[in-house]
């Protein structure tokens, strides 16, 4: 395999699976498989696994809670253990926290409104498989669309998360200033995306697949897919 192969997991109620497929194809020209949640193994040579946005199981019980019990999840966990990248977007981020591959939980926006809008995030780490093509401090214009986007961890664990540098994206102003005023959903410290300690599982609320073409408002998300492609190719020695 010369380039990355991606598996996008499709749960009943996932909406953004095809959007991710198109975004990856447009930014990297690589192949994506849509993998139904009832499978127990991932396709051979899967490099990147994506848990897409949407309303898996209608957000019933808790967002992502029922999807987290799907047959495919064991294979996703195994994939993560092997050090290969796993990306959870929006509902996918919620599923990752329910599985336990990422800490914390996502709660209702402080405004108690669903918010669909472009916002800005600042890249906090450029040394992850997902951000290799960005610079630390770079400001990206990427949209959000969610009702439950407010990250939660008890205070001490939140402090530890920050100290360990596990925040990858932070909501900010167009100039890169962070703070409550620029955090649309009340997420503490403006947390928009976090990574695990091993550095291969990323969860983010904004939708990078919706910021891949300037025709649709922004192409700032395109480098994310290219970053993972480069990282995987590097790992394969290609």
């Amino acid at each position: 395999m010369e380039a990355m192969k991606t598996s996008v997991i499709v749960f009943p109620g996932s909406n953004c699976d095809r959007d991710v497929m198109h975004a990856i194809s447009a930014s990297t020209g690589t192949v994506t498989d849509l993998v139904w949640h009832e499978h127990t193994t991932l396709p051979r040579d899967t490099g990147l696994v994506v848990l897409p946005g949407g309303f898996s199981y209608g957000d019933y019980l808790r967002c992502g809670a029922i999807a987290a019990k799907s047959p495919i999840i064991d294979a996703v966990i195994k994939h993560a253990s092997s050090g290969l990248p796993v990306l959870g977007i929006c509902n996918g981020f919620q599923v990752l926290t329910e599985i336990g591959l990422l800490p914390g939980a996502l709660l209702a926006n402080t405004s108690l409104d669903f918010i669909c809008d472009f916002c800005h995030v600042r890249v906090e780490r450029e040394d992850t498989p997902f951000t290799g093509h960005y610079r630390k401090g770079e400001v990206l214009r990427i949209p959000i669309a969610h009702y439950e986007g407010r990250f939660y961890l008890p205070e001490e664990q939140l402090r530890a998360l920050e100290e360990e540098g596990l925040v990858v994206f932070r909501y900010c102003s167009p100039e890169g200033v962070t703070g409550e005023d620029f955090t649309p959903n009340g997420s503490p410290n403006g947390i928009a995306g976090i990574i695990n300690r091993k550095g291969n599982v990323l969860g983010m609320m904004p939708h990078p697949e919706r910021a891949t073409e300037s025709l649709l408002g922004s192409s700032d998300g395109a480098p994310l897919w290219a970053s993972v492609n480069s990282w995987i190719r590097g790992r394969l020695g290609v």
Partner: protein, 717 residues
């Protein structure tokens, strides 16, 4: 015991017709079914005759009215299926679920044509927001649309929201869906053949909406709580599964015909397939998956949501079942297509319903209500209003911009996911909504309009102007119209003056459809929108679908230009009747309506399209609510630019500055394009009225907008 037809909602004349056609008295279940199917909402008995005057054929029309949705050709073998439908009465009683299930229902109508739903728009006529009841309804309705549309994964890309006291207890919720379908993959309801099986896929059937269609055909009782049991509850998660499941089944060629189970559920869907196919259909109530114990007539009429009826050959059943199982949907064979032309329902082996299929959906006699022109005729023999000085102009402008009807709507549309499916090119908050179609690299444009105030002033001209207000922004953006869908929201037709207004409104729509060659491909009627507290103003809602006419990018209604000119095309003077200025600044004053001049509109259309083809302008906006000054103000605010107007080239009277009606637009033109622009508009009124400046909207140097409304405000996107 003689069945009470009046309790079932049938008139004596209708009952007589039933007995005559059947040659006997109807059974109880049959009476209940006909009571619903012959209600206004299902049978269109009061408007069938009127609707037949609407032009329905055209170059781009693949499917006209008569199926679940209309379809227009967008090139290279692809079509867009679309329709708008009302869910007014349920939303007045339970706003969240009423609006949500309205969205669900229209999605299924488009799905029934074999199309993948790709966009939603919503027309909302809400009450005055200082009225607590109206504010609560508005909040519930918006949340219902968001809750359902977002979860089902179809972007809400635009719509129209307006506010008036007449809607306080009678909100209007018109939901529109567009779907993408390959022209050789359109599903019909005319192709069923005897021996084929009827398969129900989706939610279990319960008592939701029992007699809901009849409920929509009467005015609301004073105590709307007594209307409560009839509202359907929607589940967007199941709908999403249903959409994917049905599209998959269809892609494998397993469907012969498909119907959404909308008003009157099993009855309307199965009898319609039978009637259209020239066959009969036999439904076994014992085989319908139920949530609870139900009577046969309840099973027949239940409006439980998220169910589709499929007709398929027996050989296809196993594969259909395995696809439905994978999508975790209940499914069951509930009957078969027969050759006797009858709609039959059995329970416990006994026939409880046996009616000619054509009689169920189409047998209701048309009703001819009398018409009487309201006394006083067309209101308004207005006197010209005199000139406005700049401070007065600024005051009027800021008052108009503060009116909920002209204010920007981001608080509403930010609650809708308008980006899912990653095809939305021009989002809500713009004059036109545009999405791209990857399959044929085209751009589809959609607009939606309703204007009760102009229709109230002059139903013919007002309805025509409503339609034109939907057409002009399409043309200005560079799209050629393909077809139109509409919802006729009116009060009771039984009042002769109401009926006259309804007739004249339909005539106005028909005139534009004919003169501008924009056929009606689908639509819906909602009558009896009234309650003891009052009736709604005439509110025909129009939505037009168009296709980008050329390879140039769509022209936006805003642009951030460093320098350039501002042009006004069209008459310098507008008309004040039924407009924002008249309503907000001089309520009580009488003003004239405008005139409908088809040749002028056609001329405007050609030149607007040419302007985009030649890329002769940076931005263009058709003048609509609040007139010229409002359009200019919106351009300044959304694009963070300044415009300096010269009163020497304008008339400083309200008719010029705030008048509406007729084909008029403002364009921003970079200096290098001025000659090219003027050549596009040669022979049509066009004049330079100002220039781009660093900031603010000024008239002869006087500030028209307070600084905080335009300074530093990024374009709303």
């Amino acid at each position: 015991m003689r069945p009470d037809h009046r309790a079932a909602g049938l008139s004596d004349a209708e009952y007589g017709e039933i007995v005559r056609t059947l040659g006997r008295e109807p059974e109880h279940a049959e009476l209940m079914i006909l009571g619903v199917m012959w209600s206004e909402h299902c049978s269109y008995k009061s408007t069938r005759r009127l609707l037949s005057s609407l032009p329905t054929s055209g170059e781009a029309v693949v499917q006209g009215p008569g199926e679940n949705a209309g379809i227009v050709d967008i090139g290279e073998g692809w079509g867009i299926a679309f329709k708008v439908e009302s869910h007014n009465h349920p939303s007045a009683v339970a706003p969240y679920q009423g609006a949500a299930t309205g969205v669900g229902g229209i999605i299924r109508d488009v799905l029934a044509m074999g199309a993948r739903p790709v966009a939603l728009l919503d027309g909302l006529c809400l009450g005055g927001q200082s009225c607590p009841e109206a504010a609560a309804l508005a909040d519930g309705i918006v949340k219902g649309i968001a809750g359902y549309g977002n979860a089902v994964g179809v972007p809400t890309i635009g719509g129209k929201t307006l506010y008036d006291g007449c809607y306080n207890s009678n909100p209007l919720v018109n939901a529109m869906c567009l779907g993408l379908v390959p022209l050789d993959g359109i599903v019909s309801s005319r192709t069923a053949r005897p021996g084929q099986l009827a398969v129900l896929i989706g939610s279990r059937t319960g008592r939701d909406g029992i007699a809901g269609a009849a409920f929509a055909s009467s005015g609301l009782a004073d105590d709307t709580r007594s209307s409560r049991p009839q509202v359907q509850i929607g589940d967007p998660f199941v709908e999403k599964l249903l959409v994917e499941c049905c599209l998959e089944i269809h892609s494998k060629g397993l469907i012969v015909a498909m119907q959404d189970m909308g008003a009157a559920g099993i009855t309307s869907s199965s009898s319609e397939i039978a009637a259209k196919s020239g066959t009969g259909i036999r439904i076994n109530a014992d085989l319908v998956p139920l949530r609870e114990e139900m009577e046969p007539w309840e099973i027949a009429l239940s409006e439980s949501q998220e169910r589709m009826l499929l007709i398929a050959e027996e050989e296809a059943l196993e594969e259909i079942g395995s696809i439905a199982d994978r999508w975790q949907l209940d499914w069951a064979v509930i009957g078969e297509v027969t050759d006797d032309g009858l709609f039959v329902m059995t329970k416990g082996g006994r026939e409880v319903v046996s009616l000619p299929a054509e009689m169920v959906g189409g047998g209701c006699p048309s009703v001819q209500w009398p018409s009487r022109k309201p006394s006083g005729g067309v209101k308004g023999r207005g006197v010209p209003s005199g000139l406005l000085d700049p401070p007065e102009t600024a005051r009027c402008l800021s008052t108009i911009l503060e009116d909920p009807n002209l204010a920007e709507r981001s608080r509403i549309y930010r609650q809708y996911d308008y980006m899912v499916q990653t095809n939305t090119v021009v989002p809500p908050g713009n004059s036109v909504s545009i999405f791209r179609v990857r399959e044929n690299r085209s751009f589809v444009a959609v607009t939606m309009e309703v204007d009760p105030w102009k229709c109230s002033l002059d139903p013919f001209a007002g309805a025509a102007e409503t339609f034109l207000k939907a057409l002009r922004p399409l043309w200005v953006s560079g799209a050629k119209h393909l077809g139109m869908t509409n919802c006729l929201n009116f009060p009771s037709p039984e009042d002769p003056e109401n009926h006259w207004i309804l007739e004249r409104s339909v005539s106005g729509l028909a005139a534009v459809a004919r003169d501008l060659a924009c056929p009606v491909v689908s639509g819906n009627v909602s009558l009896y929108n009234e309650s003891p507290s009052g009736k709604i103003l005439p509110s025909p809602l129009v939505a037009v679908v168009g296709l980008q006419d050329c390879n140039s990018p769509p022209l936006r209604d805003r642009a951030t230009l460093e320098a350039g000119s501002v042009f006004l095309v069209g008459d310098t003077q507008g008309t004040l009747g039924g407009g924002a200025f008249s309503r907000i600044i001089t309520p009580g004053a009488e003003h004239n309506p405008g005139d409908y001049v088809p040749l002028k509109e056609k001329d405007f259309m050609e030149r607007a399209l040419k302007t985009v083809r030649k890329e002769a302008a940076a931005a263009g906006r058709a003048i609509a609510g609040g007139g010229l000054m409002t359009s200019l103000a919106k351009m300044c605010i959304t694009a963070n630019i300044g415009i300096g107007l010269d009163s020497a080239v304008l008339d400083t009277d309200p008719e010029c500055l705030f008048g509406e009606w007729g084909p008029r637009a403002v364009y921003l033109v970079p200096e290098r394009s001025t000659e090219l622009f003027l050549s596009c508009w040669e022979g049509f009124p066009a004049r330079r009225i100002g220039e781009i400046t660093p900031g603010g909207l000024t008239l002869d140097g006087h500030e028209m907008l307070p600084e905080e409304t335009w300074a530093g405000k990024a374009g709303r996107e």
